[in-house]
């Protein structure tokens, strides 16, 4: 109890000292909070997208097999299916028919796909919510597409996918196989690529080798590689956003260091008086530790609360603009928090601990100097 009371006296003294120089400390608190908010937002946003990617794409095919001709992606003959199916460990092989359609009026790229077991007619389509939002010139739920041969196709929207699954389906236009071939010109007997399901996922690499041995022009892409791709894209430690942020973080610590090193005459006198009335160096250090603690804990909590509100409650408007880039079609993001104490811990150690060191060392230097010389 005595120890707690002692610390509370230190805290009282610290807060009075901070309030005496409101302008200086409030501006520092504002910049500090903003830095925590930015880094926190990046970490939470990246973590949530990475988690969603892994959770959603885990049900995708174990392997997709592309055909590469002269270094470019080419359509894969359907007779490859039988040979791949005969490889031990392969459960199913199914062709995927998909491609892109650039709609010049909207200026957006859409993904056309032939849905297996498509239950509607040849002139009917299912579209993602993003298509309805962005396709200019939708009249009476009909899309007007120009096919590969210049022929016009008028397709009726019979179903719109829920905007809640925009993250995988915003730009999808699903149709029957015959309609897809009619619009894109992909000949019968060919598919865009093959989706391979494998009994034991640990055999993926071996089966990939066997496929390449059978068909040397193919390129197997494993699901583990796809998941790693998304983990790498949204890895906050190696992301470009954090690299860019690193500059501002460094600038902040230089500012904090500069302010702490350049202790004002009033602050030096204060330390001198405290030493003269009998305070120990350790007492001064505790005082300064509390000073750093009050600023950094306040900034940390205000920043992280702001980051949570920004990313999850407001759907990250700051990053949405950056991620959108030149894209006309952008999914409605409904991110869900990934409860990861490691992230919060990492943010705490990245922002609070360095600030403590930056402010403590100059205070120690001032505290060990002779009180009489400080007060002169």
């Amino acid at each position: 109890m005595k120890w707690i009371q002692r610390q509370k006296y230190f805290l009282d003294f610290t807060l009075s000292s901070l309030l005496r120089r409101k302008g200086k400390h409030l501006s520092l608190l504002f910049v500090y909070t903003f830095i925590v908010f930015l880094i926190g937002s990046v970490m939470l946003f990246a973590g949530a997208i990475r988690k969603t990617a892994v959770d959603v794409l885990i049900d995708g095919p174990e392997m997709t097999v592309q055909r590469i001709i002269a270094g470019r992606h080419d359509f894969i003959p359907l007779h490859y299916i039988e040979s791949i199916q005969n490889i031990r460990g392969v459960r199913t092989v199914r062709p995927r028919l998909w491609g892109y359609h650039f709609h010049s009026a909207s200026g957006a790229n859409y993904t056309l796909m032939a849905a297996p077991d498509f239950e509607y007619g040849p002139d009917q389509i299912i579209v993602g919510a993003g298509v309805v939002r962005s396709w200019s010139g939708i009249a009476e739920d009909r899309l007007y597409l120009v096919g590969f041969d210049g022929r016009a196709h008028l397709l009726k929207i019979v179903e719109t996918l829920d905007s809640g699954i925009d993250l995988v389906a915003a730009d999808l236009i699903l149709m029957a196989e015959s309609t897809f071939r009619d619009i894109t010109g992909v000949p019968e007997g060919y598919a865009t690529d093959l989706a391979v399901e494998i009994r034991n996922p640990r055999e993926c690499a071996t089966i990939g080798e066997k496929i390449v041995r059978l068909f040397p022009e193919t390129r197997p892409i494993l699901k583990s590689e796809i998941l790693r791709t998304y983990a790498a894209v949204f890895d906050w430690r190696s992301g470009y956003v954090v690299v860019l942020l690193a500059g501002s973080v460094l600038a902040f610590f230089i500012l904090a260091w500069d302010r702490a090193v350049g202790l004002s005459a009033e602050e030096r006198r204060e330390i001198g008086v405290l030493r003269a009335v009998g305070w120990d160096v350790s007492d001064i250090l505790i005082l300064k530790w509390w000073e750093g603690g009050v600023i950094s804990l306040t900034a940390f909590f205000l920043g992280i609360i702001g980051a949570y509100l920004h990313v999850f409650w407001a759907s990250a408007p700051v990053f949405a603009h950056a991620l959108q880039g030149w894209a006309v079609l952008y999914p409605e993001l409904h991110l869900y928090p990934d409860p990861d104490p490691y992230q919060i811990g990492a943010l705490f150690f990245l922002t609070v601990v360095p600030f403590g060191f930056v402010t403590l060392i100059p205070a120690w230097k001032a505290a060990v100097t002779d009180p009489s010389s400080v007060m002169k």
């Binding site: 807060l15 794409l57 270094g71 790229n109 993003g130 390449v212 892409i221 791709t229 804990l297 869900y336």
Partner: protein
């Protein structure tokens, strides 16, 4: 007599309030939207499984950004980290995974060595 709160108590109360607000901001969204999120995830997984989808619809600017994992090997930022991309998405996407790992090359090269 007016009740005067010590500065330390006031700040500790403020910090406690911040911690409660933090817990609410962090968990409130999950609690409120849990059912809706689970339903959406189930729908998304069903669609991914049915269509065999491989990528997230995040960057629709170009074909090599829409399907990051399926892009041509010669497309911008697929070959090396400094290759130019015309689209801003390139600045968010790091170097391709095959530059950091050797798994795909292992698959390719092993196949070429074998008869």
């Amino acid at each position: 007599m007016a009740f005067a709160l010590r500065k330390s108590d006031a700040w500790l109360l403020f910090l406690g309030g911040c911690i409660i607000l933090f817990a609410l901001a962090a968990n409130g969204y999950s609690v409120i939207h849990q059912k809706e999120h689970q339903q959406q995830m189930m729908n998304a997984r069903q669609l991914v499984g049915r269509l065999g989808l491989t990528d997230l619809c995040l960057f629709t600017e170009a074909r090599y950004t829409r399907h990051l994992s399926q892009a041509d090997l010669h497309a911008p930022f697929q070959d090396h980290p400094l290759s130019l991309s015309h689209f801003p998405s390139g600045s968010h996407v790091g170097p391709p995974i095959h530059l950091k790992t050797v798994s795909r090359h292992e698959v390719d090269s092993t196949a070429k060595i074998l008869p």
